[in-house]
């Protein structure tokens, strides 16, 4: 495989909208990214973003129903573009706060969207044909 085709590689995965399934999905994502020379540090960041976004889908989108989460990753130049799709309840992330809860308040939740926004770029959400579509990207800096 040439370097060029590696840079254009894509990864697709569908998993059950359940918390335990997220772990297996993240293991597969990590394997894919390691094969493409993505640094451990970037992988840790992306795993955290995906964990937060997918947990939100399970807890809120699929609160009253079961369903799948579809994840697509695309290595594009120096960006890694990510898409998450589900058929759960619609939501509006723009309505959620951009700052983290005040630490001294000792909130047990409310950090998820802050983490997603802080660690990724160009977060966008759309609702289409009964699907939620969340898009964002992170820098891609292969070791070699």
């Amino acid at each position: 495989m040439t370097g060029q085709s590696e840079l254009q590689s894509e990864f697709h995965l569908a998993c059950k909208g359940e918390l335990w399934a997220i772990r297996n999905a993240l293991d597969d994502v990590e394997r894919f990214l390691l094969e493409h020379g993505v640094t451990r540090c970037r992988i840790a960041d992306l795993s955290l973003i995906l964990a937060e976004a997918m947990t939100n889908i399970v807890r809120h989108g699929y609160r009253d129903s079961a369903g799948e989460i579809v994840l697509s990753l695309r290595l594009e130049g120096r960006r890694l573009r990510c898409e998450l799709t589900d058929r759960g309840q619609p939501f509006d992330p723009s309505a959620l706060g951009r700052s983290a809860p005040e630490p001294a308040q000792f909130n047990e939740g409310g950090y998820g969207w802050f983490i997603i926004r802080h660690l990724s770029d160009g977060v966008s959400y759309s609702r289409r044909d009964g699907h939620n579509l969340l898009r964002f990207s992170v820098p891609f800096d292969p070791v070699n």
Partner: protein, 113 residues
């Protein structure tokens, strides 16, 4: 979810023996630690040196443990791995918890699952 309980002087040390403290185990973790902290000892030091992945649900569970313990028994954190440290810094939780770089040596009391 596996944790071990140890003692370092007056402190009770709870070591998380898992590589992930995430949404899948957050509630189990909180319940398990609540049961274990019926054992006396203060402060309670949470040893996260084996945890490579912490998400906001796991962090929320740590905060929940701190609240369960109440003001008389402070919760302190020890042994943050790089990605866990990053989440503490990002959420500024490193400013409100006492964080030990090293996990104190302990005499083990028990292991629980």
């Amino acid at each position: 979810m596996q944790v071990t309980l140890g003692r370092a002087g007056e402190a009770l040390v709870i070591s998380v023996m898992e590589s992930r403290l995430d949404a899948a185990v957050a509630i189990t973790f909180k319940d398990l630690v609540r049961d274990l902290t019926t054992t006396a000892g203060s402060p309670v030091i949470l040893d996260l040196s084996r945890v490579e992945f912490l998400d906001s649900s796991g962090l929320g569970a740590v905060v929940g443990v701190m609240k369960q313990l109440g003001p008389e028994r402070p919760l302190e954190i020890a042994g943050l791995t790089p990605s866990v440290r990053k989440l503490f810094r990002l959420t500024r939780m490193d400013t409100v918890f006492r964080i030990h770089d090293c996990v104190p040596a302990t005499n083990d009391i028990a292991a629980a699952e």
